[in-house]
Amino acid sequence: MKCDLVVVGAGPAGSMTAKAAAEAGLDVVMLEKRQEIGDPVRCAEGVSKAALKKLVELDPVWISAEVKGARLRAPDGTEMVMSENRAGAEVGYVLERKVFDRALAQDAAEAGAKVMVKTRALGLLWDGGVPSGISAQFVGESLKIEAPLIIGADGVESKVGRWAGLDTALKPKDIEVCAQFLVQDEKIDEEYCEFYLGNEIAPGGYVWSFPKGENLANVGIGILGSKANSGTPIRLLREFMKNNFPEGKVLEMMVGGVPVSGPIETTTADGVILVGDAARQSDPITGGGIINAMKAGVMAGEMAADLVPKGEVDKESLQIYEKMWRETIGKQISRNFAVKEFFVDLTDDDLNRLIHSLDGIDVAELDLRGLLKVLIRQNPKHLLKLRHLIV
């Protein structure tokens, strides 16, 4: 089989890449190793309304819930509330990823991309020292797909970059390891996304509760890999459930790893581009990855449509992509990485003090960045290290 572009992985990054490239006229093949796109889910499913609207036409079938805002809870129980349109990238809609991911793949198919499920990439094909395609397994049968450019949209477990010589391995301090239950409980707040902080609750991470509809929520936990031990996420999540939703019934269980490494050194090689979680483009503070993945996918797909016909797919030509994403989504990823590096080492006393320092301030007027600014203003000594980051 021959085509202009192979996309490995049919999550939001892959489907947006495939759609953009196919719309611009490329012959695109998108591979998905699972037999069903979008399932099993490995995501808390929260996404910013405004950001999503700019990338795709909204369809109520893949929106589970709409939220008014976010509530942050300090280790000592003190709460602060942020309103919806300012709370940062993770508040707005809670999606149904199983439906959302497949809808995006359908968009790519409608734009002309060929989609192949239960098709797992096994390695790169090489010709004269440069990648010339992908060897794969299609429902157990071997398959070779020749293409001048390969997009690795293969998620946290990405292999495409490694095959091309890029070191994408995550250090334990650069991954949040997560577990999540879909919980049915009358106690669930259907209007707010909730974030629970504390070193006992979630070392180097947080617990979240994102509403999914009436009496339903994704209740999950992320723990920094360097602070975790075998099975810590599921153990602490069960403990949290016992303390907060003792009557809660678990309808689904999910696990996953979220890159929080900040921008990696390089996301391109001769004939290869990485996008989304494969490129470690998820946000190091929130762990949110959908919007960045979709934006990177559009950039990669449009750029591929421009470069492939000209035969310019060497690493040097692909620097356009490298530059484009680093100057856009990369800036916030870098800044939030630095902020995360600082926050993960705070004690519970520090966290309590920070939340208390917001007493009497109209926090509804803040977004995540604004919140950090006020925190720095209220705690100049403690947050001295962050001052240069938030301007």
Partner: protein, 60 residues
């Protein structure tokens, strides 16, 4: 050697992402380990469900 308890594994791929030797692979619902595994144990510590374990090999 590294063992994967596939009855416990939630096939999330976090272990694959941290493996410095690229010795792990997530195939739909199970994890495969190849000979490149250096038994460093990084994956065992980060597994959300505790499905991975380094087991001492019996002397033969």
């Amino acid at each position: 050697m590294l063992t994967v308890n596939r009855y416990k594994c939630g096939y999330c791929g976090a272990c694959v992402g941290v493996c410095p030797a690229a010795a792990l692979e997530l195939v739909e619902t199970w994890i495969e380990v190849n000979d490149d595994c250096t038994k460093c144990g990084r994956c065992t510590k980060i597994c959300p469900l505790g499905a991975l374990e380094l087991v001492k090999e019996a002397q033969t």
